[in-house]
C-alpha cells in the first residue's frame, strides 16, 4: 500500500452562491465517498475542507503576504489522504471524489521511511 493525496480544486464562487440544498447534496456526496474508498480497496487516512483562499497567507523568502500562493480560477479547497495498493486504485478512488465545480489531482506521497 502507498499513500496518495487527493487535492480537490474547485471554483470557490460556486460555493458562495450555492443554495443550502446544493450544499447539503455536496456534504452527502462526501459522506458517501468516505464509504466508497474501502470498497475500492483503499483506506481513508484523513482529509479536510479548507477555508476559502480569501483567508490564505503566503510566504516567499520570509515575506508574508495576504492571499493564496497562486491566483487561479479553481483553487485548492480540500484534500483527502488515502492508502491505495497502486495508482490505478488511487485514480479510481479519485474519480469518485466529489468535485462538481472543478476536479481533483492525485499525488503519490513521497515515502521517506527508507523502507
Amino acid at each position: 500500500m502507498a499513500q496518495y493525496l487527493i487535492l480537490i480544486y474547485e471554483n470557490e464562487d460556486a460555493y458562495v452562491d450555492a443554495s443550502p440544498e446544493v450544499l447539503q447534496t455536496v456534504m452527502e456526496a462526501h459522506t458517501r465517498f468516505a464509504g466508497q474508498v474501502g470498497e475500492q480497496g483503499g483506506k481513508l487516512l484523513g482529509g479536510n475542507a479548507l477555508q476559502p483562499t480569501a483567508t490564505a497567507t503566503s510566504i516567499r523568502d520570509d515575506v508574508v503576504t495576504d492571499g493564496p500562493f497562486a491566483e487561479t480560477k479553481e483553487a485548492l479547497g480540500g484534500y483527502y489522504l488515502i492508502d491505495a495498493p497502486d495508482l490505478d486504485h488511487a485514480l479510481a478512488i479519485g474519480k469518485l471524489c466529489p468535485a462538481q465545480y472543478g476536479g481533483v489531482e492525485v499525488r503519490p506521497v513521497w515515502d521517506t521511511s527508507g523502507g
Binding site: 477555508q51 497567507t57 508574508v64 503576504t65 495576504d66 492571499g67
Partner: protein, 412 residues
C-alpha cells in the same frame, strides 16, 4: 474600549455591536445615576458583559468559532477600576489578568492585529482607521478615494480573515517584535504620507489623515516607550508636520523647502521632535525612522536653506540607505549630493536610478531631475522632465507648481 471587548469576543463585528450597546446603556444609566468616576472603564466593563451575554446566548456562534472566548473567568465585581499594567507578554491566550485588564495593552493588541502582515497593506490601513481610530467606513473610503461599498468589502474581508485564519490578538513576542512593529509603524507612516500630499484633489494636505497619523504615532510611542523606532516615527511626523502651514502660499501654491517662511514653522513641534530624535538615535545603530527623523531635525534647525548642514545630511542619507536600501532614499540622497558636490554627479546617480526601473511612475524622480537640469541651464531637457513629472501627479497644487516651472524654463 473596542480593543478590550474584542479580546473577549475574538470577533470584531460582535465587539463593535457590544460597544454600541454599551454606549446606549450608558446614556440610560448615567442620566439616572450620574457619570461614573471613570466613564471609559465603565463602558468597557459594560461592553464586555454584553459581549459575554451575547456569547452565552448564541451557542451556535460559539460552536462555529471555538476560540471566541479566552479561557478564564468572566469579570467579577463592578467597580470601574483602572488597574496598572501587566506587561504585554505575548503569551498563549492566558485570558485576562484582571477586571479592566489594562486598556493600553488592549489598544496595542488591536493595532498589532490590524497591521498583521498576513493582511494586505490596504486592509491594514483601513482596519486601523476603522477599529483603532473609529472612523466610519464612509470616511475611510473618501480618504482613499474609493467607493464606500468597495471599502466596506475590504474591511469585511479583512475581519473575516482575522477570524477564520485566527490571527492572534496579542502583542508579538520579543523575537518577532522588531518586524511586526515595523509593519505597524509603516502603516502609520503611510497614513501620514497619504495625508501629507493628497494623491489627488485640490488640497495639498489632508489634515484629518495627518492628525490621525500623528495621534497613532503618539499612542504607540506612549504604549511602547522603550522602542526607539516608535520614538523615531513620532519625531519624524512632528518635525515634518511643523512645516505644514508653510508648504503652500496664501493662494495654495506649493512652496519648496528653500522658499518656505521658517519663522512660521511650528517651534513647539520642532522642539518636541528634536528631543525625541536624540533618544531614538542613542544605543546601537539607529533604524530607518530614527534616521529620517534626524534628517528632518537637521532641516528644522537650519536658520535658512543655504545655511543647512548639507555634508551632515549627506552622511545621514548614506546611513539611511544602508539601514533601508530603497530607491526612494537613493533619490533623496542624490538631491542632497547636488547641494554638496554640484548637480552633475547627482544627475549621474539619478540616471542610474532610471535604468534601475523600480522608480518608474514615481513623480519625484523626473521632478528632481528637472530641477538639477534647470540649475545647469539645460532648459529644454528640464522642461521635458517637468512634463514627465506633471503627467504622474493628480494633485492640483503639485500640478500648478510643475506647470509654472515648465513656463519658466521654456521662457528662459
Amino acid at each position: 474600549m473596542l480593543a478590550a471587548t474584542a479580546r473577549v469576543t475574538r470577533d470584531l463585528d460582535l465587539a463593535e455591536e457590544c460597544v454600541q450597546d454599551a454606549y446606549v446603556a450608558a446614556l440610560g444609566a448615567w442620566s439616572r445615576g450620574g457619570i461614573p468616576r471613570n466613564p471609559g472603564a465603565w463602558l468597557t466593563t459594560t461592553a464586555r458583559r454584553r459581549a459575554l451575554d451575547a456569547l452565552r446566548r448564541d451557542r451556535t456562534l460559539r460552536a462555529k468559532l471555538p476560540l471566541l472566548i479566552d479561557p478564564g473567568p468572566p469579570p467579577a465585581g463592578d467597580g470601574p477600576a483602572w488597574p496598572g499594567g501587566t506587561g504585554p507578554d505575548g503569551g498563549s491566550g492566558a485570558g485576562w489578568a484582571a477586571e479592566g485588564d489594562v486598556i493600553p495593552d488592549d489598544r496595542l493588541r488591536l493595532v498589532f492585529t490590524c497591521c498583521h502582515p498576513a493582511l494586505a497593506r490596504e486592509a491594514q490601513v483601513a482596519l486601523t482607521l476603522r477599529l483603532v481610530c473609529g472612523l466610519t467606513t464612509g470616511e475611510i473610503a473618501r480618504a482613499f478615494l474609493v467607493s464606500e461599498p468597495t471599502m466596506a468589502a475590504r474591511v469585511t474581508r479583512a475581519k473575516k480573515k482575522i477570524s477564520a485564519a485566527r490571527i492572534a490578538y496579542r502583542v508579538p513576542a520579543a523575537a518577532e517584535l522588531p518586524e511586526r512593529l515595523d509593519a505597524v509603524l509603516t502603516v502609520v507612516h503611510l497614513l501620514y504620507t497619504t495625508g501629507h500630499t493628497a494623491p489627488a484633489g485640490n488640497d495639498l494636505v489632508r489634515a484629518d489623515l495627518v492628525d490621525r497619523a500623528i495621534g497613532l504615532a503618539r499612542m504607540i510611542r506612549e504604549l511602547m516607550p522603550d522602542e526607539r523606532e516608535a520614538r523615531g516615527l513620532l519625531a519624524l511626523l512632528l518635525l515634518t508636520d511643523a512645516r505644514r502651514d508653510t508648504r503652500a502660499d496664501a493662494g495654495g501654491r506649493l512652496l519648496l523647502l528653500a522658499d518656505q517662511d521658517r519663522s512660521r514653522w511650528d517651534r513647539g513641534a520642532i522642539d518636541e521632535g528634536t528631543a525625541l530624535v536624540a533618544g531614538a538615535l542613542r544605543g546601537g545603530s539607529p533604524g530607518r525612522f530614527a534616521l529620517q527623523a534626524a534628517i528632518a531635525a537637521l532641516h528644522a534647525e537650519a536658520p535658512s536653506y543655504s545655511e543647512t548642514d548639507w555634508p551632515q545630511l549627506l552622511q545621514l542619507y548614506g546611513e539611511l540607505l544602508r539601514a533601508w536600501p530603497s530607491p526612494v532614499v537613493a533619490l533623496n540622497r542624490a538631491v542632497v549630493r547636488a547641494m554638496v558636490d554640484g548637480p552633475e554627479p547627482a544627475l549621474a546617480e539619478i540616471a542610474g536610478l532610471e535604468r534601475d526601473g523600480r522608480l518608474a511612475g514615481y513623480r519625484y524622480l523626473p521632478a528632481a531631475k528637472a530641477d538639477l537640469l534647470r540649475r545647469l541651464g539645460r532648459n529644454a531637457e528640464a522642461a521635458r522632465a517637468y512634463q514627465a513629472a506633471l503627467e504622474l501627479t493628480d494633485n492640483a497644487a503639485e500640478r500648478e507648481f510643475l506647470s509654472r516651472r515648465i513656463t519658466e524654463v521654456s521662457a528662459g
